[in-house]
Symmetry: C2
Subunit: 480 residues, 2 copies
């Protein structure tokens, strides 16, 4: 039996090292040979599969279809939309050869698929009858990260879904953007138990080539914001250079309005940072691939049979509503198993020993509170369900409180800098709307505008940087 090594640093003391240890020791990921790449192991991929299942159902219900487009994009495609090219070209991995043959044109591995997809849209769309086009793909994305990489949060290869739609009017595209943002909101808050603030991006922070970008931002325990999803209205910025045109109901030729939107395996990074604790990973029950581990406890072989039978019975009952497994490995003590599954974040542990059998009871232990609950066998389903529900709510509420504590309304630039330096988080401040002020703040403090709320704040005061008339109250923060 290998010696067991848990997390050796406290989350509150060395957050960055704590994160690395949780990711590797809970076996979420391992580092790849190419800088910034990781292997997604069983647990992290299991969470991703659950995210896929939940979100896939949502988009299918709203009329979207899954498809798959080529991953290799000719260099000339990127160049058709100038802002887009500038935004992405530093991160593109370029293919120059196939086998021994030098290619006539370099091919980029998709850093996002607008350009290749619009090539096809321009072939497929002819008439208003063809609209809207509502497609989505689940795929890998390559973006060479030269800055510091971090598993899940910033990697040179990640997994995501990218939705791409084309509409007759700006209004239809607006509706699509907001509808998807709402679905992301539901997924992230109600399944991942990660509270977010939502709104628009500033001109400097929007997607390269977009008319506007909407986003969801979470707040990490170290005071840095994490962008967890984006939904863009791309206007006609792409449909013009890519010549995606349709005949409208009046027989007039028009360009379509497009949107794109995505969430990625970065969500896993947010989940780990927000819910993990000094013992390791903590998975919210609604997103955990395995919700319950049953640990049979016996010290004499004469006890084994009865305990195992009881464990099997419990599993059979529970697996109707929950995902559950029995840890029946030989040669490991119950205590060793407890530690392992705590490290790996299983929401609920059920312990069954000889005394429990005698008393027709089982012991439930919640991962978030470590609370022990002795329940009657006959109450098992009810109590398990209540425990998991309560854990889901508790994780969300804790995170929500942390988010709220991290929002500080600041009045002037001095206070702004002090807040960012001391507690971090979101500095809520008035802003004149000029790129220049945003850039200066970024250069001087490292903070960017993360969110411009959809609803304009009534109490706009002077711009936190230039003291001229403010236009909006926005959320600044340092970010991953």
């Amino acid at each position: 039996m290998a010696e067991q090594e848990g997390i050796t640093v406290k989350k509150s003391e060395n957050f960055s090292e704590w994160y690395t240890q949780v990711v590797t020791k809970s076996e979420m990921a391992d580092y790849g040979p190419v800088q910034g790449t990781i292997a997604f192991k069983e647990t992290s991929f299991g969470i991703w599969e659950k995210i896929q299942r939940i979100f896939d159902e949502k988009i299918k219900k709203t009329g979207h279809k899954n498809v798959y487009f080529p991953s290799l994009i000719p260099e000339s495609f990127f160049k058709k939309e100038a802002e887009h090219f500038q935004g992405f070209v530093p991160e593109v991995f370029w293919v120059t050869h196939s086998g021994d043959n030098k290619l006539g044109e370099r091919l980029g591995i998709r850093p996002t698929s607008e350009t290749i997809i619009y090539h096809f849209f321009s072939r497929w769309i002819r008439s208003w009858r063809d609209l809207p086009v509502l497609v989505n793909q689940w795929c890998n994305i390559l973006r060479a990260e030269i800055k510091s990489t971090k598993p899940f949060v910033r990697t040179s290869e990640f997994l995501w879904q990218e939705g791409h739609t084309a509409h007759e009017t700006k209004e239809d595209a607006d509706k699509e953007v907001m509808m998807i943002l709402k679905e992301y909101h539901d997924l992230i808050e109600n399944y991942l138990a990660v509270p977010v603030i939502i709104g628009r991006k500033s001109e400097l922070e929007k997607f390269a080539g977009a008319l506007y970008t909407t986003t969801l931002e979470g707040m990490m325990p170290d005071g840095k914001a994490l962008q967890l999803g984006t939904s863009h209205n791309l206007g006609q910025n792409f449909s013009k250079p890519f010549e995606i045109k349709f005949l409208d109901k009046n027989g007039k030729e028009q360009n379509v309005w497009t949107t794109s939107w995505g969430i990625s395996t970065r969500l896993l990074g947010g989940l780990i940072m927000i819910h993990g604790d000094d013992k390791g990973l903590v998975m919210p029950p609604r997103i955990a691939p395995n919700q319950i581990v049953v640990v049979p406890i016996y010290y004499k072989s004469s006890e084994k049979k009865a305990v195992m039978k009881k464990a099997e019975d419990a599993k059979e009952k529970l697996e109707k509503d929950f995902s559950v497994f029995i840890d029946n490995r030989e040669g490991y003590t119950p205590g060793w198993k407890f530690n392992e599954w705590e490290l790996k974040g299983i929401p609920l542990r059920i312990e069954i020993g000889p005394r429990d059998i005698k008393n027709k009871q089982m012991v439930l232990v919640r991962r978030d509170t470590n609370e022990k609950l002795i329940v009657k066998e006959s109450d098992l389903m009810k109590k398990v369900s209540a425990s998991l529900d309560s854990m889901q709510v508790n994780l969300y509420n804790k995170a929500r409180k942390n988010l709220q504590d991290r929002i500080t309304l600041v009045k002037d630039y001095e206070e702004f800098k002090k807040v960012l330096e001391s507690k971090g988080g979101f500095a809520k401040a008035s802003w004149c709307g000029e790129n220049h002020c945003e850039e200066q703040v970024k250069n001087e403090t490292g903070a960017t505008i993360r969110i411009i709320p959809f609803k304009k704040d009534n109490k706009v005061s002077k711009c936190v940087y230039c003291n001229r008339t403010g236009k909006e109250v926005v959320y600044f923060a340092k970010a991953y």
Copy 2:
């Protein structure tokens, strides 16, 4: 309303052109800008999703876990196993730059993932307790095809699953290989309704680096074989150069035994070729994303409400057990809709018109036989179920008969050549077991050994090429 264009050539007269028309006109795929790439459209990706769901359940039930490994593989990794390198290097797309930076080492985009996965296995596996490792990934694969490409059948990018496992002994690896082959067999025959023959590959045809390869081969209507899946025992051929070692139960260090196995979107090519007809695509009911289309028929607007209500009722009832949609588009005649869904291969059409409502009946039309069945409303579920079952069986049986008709036992090389030239298909012949004879046959006729049956034939005669003592009766064929 655009003019409708169906398939304009007969399958029996110009198979290749027929295939291209079915693929594009039924909107299965569209050609990409990079040679050999395609866009998987809604229908083809929908079939692939069904394949994924069915096979994913199978592998999870047998203890495999989904994971995801990096797609970029350092060139040095490929070189560790010499045969493997030679086999794949002509097809690899090489990445040389990220943004403006020239990379220190070229990176290949995965043409298959053994080498990158074994890099991780060597880090993860220490003891017999860590075995078996049973992982799988669903992903895209890039192989530059310089020969003639064909949508789904031979493309420079395709989708697949690749399973990778590590075991303590050769016997465990053997069992895994055969278990997976059996699952492939079930999927392909019982869901895709594509009959296959199964067996081993010859030394020349096996996977580059394998100990042995098992395979499933289908027979296309033009007399060419199509390999539909492979399951390899890789022995210790990779675990030695990649140093994947474990301490066995006696504390002795050993190399693991590995397997790998895959099925790809090539299955869609087989499906189209085998079941399609002069009207277009035909999807077997068990693999069709949409099994039933309901077409409401009315000519006066006064009839519309009652017909639509009946159609909605039917849909509501049917969708409990089947995937069903109503084609309620305005401005298209029922006849136009019939043609469209025949072209697109929907297994069953239900027509509902005013007369049907009066008679409390509906009309079912099967895609494979074009048979019309008038059924009582009260019998709807039973009759639909029976029709779809019968269609599934009928498609399989027709294909099975075609396969059997295409197997010819040949006695000598003259007959061998004549059979391959006239009717094609599998030429069953004795073979001495030497690479040389196989190579000569390939050079002279284009046919290769597709299958060496698992069960040795009793009636081995002289080698079809060299006339020396035969060792096995094998299946030769030209292949895609």
